[in-house]
């Protein structure tokens, strides 16, 4: 190979993929730098990442069974208390199960329900919002009125009603949360698309011969998706609280599957003799939701160029 003849085989897909990869990498590096400038946001991100890792590797990092306990060992206090035992760092519950193990397994439920319900809300809300905002007309009219109707109900009461109707269970819980959750994304995307559709680049795309569907998907949505992403992270924390509330009320995930909400509920009767049974799952909810919100708001500040200028 001579020095002046680089034999770069520019096969179409391969080449474009490499460029895409480089652009992604550059964007990621920039995000990393911005995060480094904001230690609190970074800390929030680390806490969220730790919870995710705990959820994924729950079976590997725990030694106790999350669902079966030894009744003889019920209400063991946390390790630092007088009668504590480092075998059960956060103590045991009313059935003698290790609390830490159950909290770690409970992360799975919280994150899975939260992520799934937000993902469904994002997909449904964004798709409907984009079509309603772009085409207007009767489609927009019907969807918007339906969204208004759903917004008239308080979320928790609505979810309680739906869960009472569907019956408890993982799938039903996700459905109940997503059934109202999409409205937020619908309204956000519809509003943004209404603003974008009158911009000249849309006319430009039309002049270039693009179809309406292509304009929505490949021209308008990339301009809107950032706010959807930010709202998604902020709604995630809220969905986790909703899941915990429903499980607390006995309408969500059923025992013995460990879920933070039902763990708080089961410890409520023993609060005076064994405060830790309710307290630690409650703290886990608090920690995860606060970390998600801090991280989400930090992401919003970083990604939203309008806020950056100030």
């Amino acid at each position: 190979m001579t020095a002046h003849a680089p034999t770069r085989v520019a096969r179409g897909w391969d080449y474009s993929f490499r460029i895409r990869l480089r652009l992604w990498w550059r964007a990621l590096a920039e995000l990393g730098y911005e995060l480094w400038q904001r230690p609190v946001v970074l800390l929030g991100g680390i806490v969220v990442a730790a919870f995710i890792l705990a959820a994924v590797f729950a079976a590997q990092i725990t030694i106790h069974d999350p669902t079966r306990g030894t009744l003889l060992l019920r209400f063991e206090p946390p390790a630092w208390e007088a009668e504590g035992n480092w075998k059960y760092p956060l103590g045991t519950d009313d059935q003698g199960r290790d609390l830490l193990t159950r909290i770690i397994y409970g992360t799975r439920v919280s994150l899975a329900v939260g992520l799934l319900s937000v993902a469904i809300s994002v997909i449904v809300g964004t798709a409907l919002g984009a079509f309603a905002g772009y085409y207007r007309g009767w489609l927009d009219e019907i969807l918007s009125r339906f969204a208004d109707l759903l917004l008239a109900f308080p979320f928790l009461i609505f979810a309680i009603g739906v869960m009472a109707f569907l019956g408890p269970g993982f799938v039903n819980l996700v459905m109940a949360l997503a059934f109202k959750g999409w409205v937020e994304f619908f309204r956000l995307v519809r509003g943004e698309v209404l603003g974008e559709r009158t911009k000249e680049y849309v006319d430009g795309a039309r002049v270039a011969g693009q179809s309406n569907l292509a304009i929505i998907v490949s021209e308008i949505l990339p301009n809107v998706i950032q706010s959807v992403f930010v709202l998604g992270t902020l709604r995630l924390g809220y969905m986790i609280i909703m899941e915990a509330s429903l499980s607390f009320l006995g309408l969500g995930i059923q025992p013995p599957t460990p879920a933070w909400g039902s763990m708080v509920a089961s410890g409520r009767d023993y609060l005076l003799v064994a405060w830790w049974v309710s307290t630690f799952p409650g703290l886990a909810i608090l920690l995860l939701v606060v970390a998600i919100n801090i991280f989400g708001e930090g992401l919003r500040d970083i990604l939203d160029p309008r806020l950056k200028i100030e």
Binding site: A10, R11, G12, W13, Y15, S16, I19, L23, K199, E200, Y201, D203, G204, A205, R206, V207, A208, G209, Q210, S211, A214, S218, E219, P222, N223
Partner: protein, 329 residues
């Protein structure tokens, strides 16, 4: 080939229903554009010149609609094509450049990608990325964007106004259209850049034989650039002819009025003569000549009936009774 025009508008009428009544934004416009011709459409804001362009591409948004007429492109009536067939023509055979380049470029994508997009839509270069990119870089250097390989990945806001307009022209040229509709392409640019862009468009016309329709309110610019000029007023064509005919011997009082409102730098300072009065309400255009109320040479007859076109010289048409060889037939 010279006999059949590339594009021919016949009695094109575009209306917008409003609360005050039906607005005839384009009323009975007939025009023809020959292969490789440079045609200017001149008129003040709201006279229907942009709507005429959008009507040709059938991009009038509801509730507006094209009420009557034909737009024959190479003998085919564009107004009768299916939506799919129309999309094939947009961008490929007839392309358009808009006034405000920054808002016409999508802020979310690199400029090079957006030029590539127009190649992709019409399957030029077989959707082969390397070939497409090569073509985009050729186009970018053709329209005078320096170091196109580096600027391929830059975003619209990183371009200056002139460069943005060049990028838009590159997008319009990507599929080698036969007609380029330029809707006030230089209005948002400063004068030196304006000259460069007009120069670029003239070179494109010479090199590729692309017919260009320049829509502008600047009669001077049109006079410098175009071979023929059409003057519009209140949705109607009022005068059309070669540039020399229209500029040297303007027949319609409105054209003359436009010519006297152009500020000139000369030793002798002269006041600019504004045309008195206002444009009529387009929902309620008087039956006769729309300009009659503002015209200094108005006769009672002007307000009664629609004035027909008079051909006062070969190819020079005017809708006025007071043209120099005043013998209405």
């Amino acid at each position: 080939m010279t006999n059949t025009p590339l594009l021919e508008l016949k009695n094109l009428t575009t209306v917008f229903p409003t609360r005050r009544g039906l607005v005839r934004a384009v009323a009975d416009v007939s025009l023809s554009l020959a292969q490789g011709e440079l045609l200017g459409i001149v008129g003040e804001s709201g006279c229907g010149k942009s709507v005429t362009m959008l009507s040709i591409l059938r991009l009038i948004s509801t509730p507006g609609r094209i009420a009557a007429g034909q737009a024959l492109f190479q003998g085919r009536d564009l107004l009768k094509l299916s939506d799919g067939a129309m999309r094939q023509i947009r961008g490929k055979d007839i392309a358009m450049v808009f006034q405000d380049p920054l808002s016409t470029l999508n802020p979310a994508f690199p400029v090079g990608e957006q030029i590539r997009e127009s190649l992709r839509i019409h399957h030029i270069a077989q959707n082969h990325f390397a070939r497409e990119k090569e073509r985009v870089i050729e186009l970018m250097s053709e329209v005078g964007i320096s170091s196109p390989t580096d600027r391929f990945h830059e975003y619209p806001h990183q371009f200056s106004g002139g460069m943005q307009q060049r990028a838009l022209i590159a997008i319009a040229l990507a599929c080698e259209p036969k007609i380029l509709l330029a809707d006030e392409p230089t209005t948002s640019l400063d004068v030196t850049i304006q000259a460069q862009i007009m120069d670029l468009m003239r070179r494109i016309n010479e090199a590729r034989g692309t017919a260009i329709v320049l829509v502008t309110h600047n009669l001077d610019l049109a006079a410098e650039f175009c071979q023929r000029i059409a003057v519009m007023y209140a949705g109607r064509l009022v005068e059309i002819g070669t540039t020399d005919q229209v500029i040297e011997t303007p027949q319609h009082p409105y054209t003359r009025g436009l010519l006297t409102c152009i500020p000139r730098i000369s030793a002798q300072r002269t006041r600019i003569e504004p045309i008195p009065g206002n444009v009529p309400d387009l929902a309620n255009v008087p039956p006769g000549c729309a300009f009659a109320e503002r015209c200094s040479e108005m006769q009672p007859i002007c307000q009664n009936d629609l004035i027909p076109f008079f051909e006062i010289a070969p190819g020079h048409l005017v809708r006025c009774l007071r043209h120099s060889s005043a013998t209405p037939d």
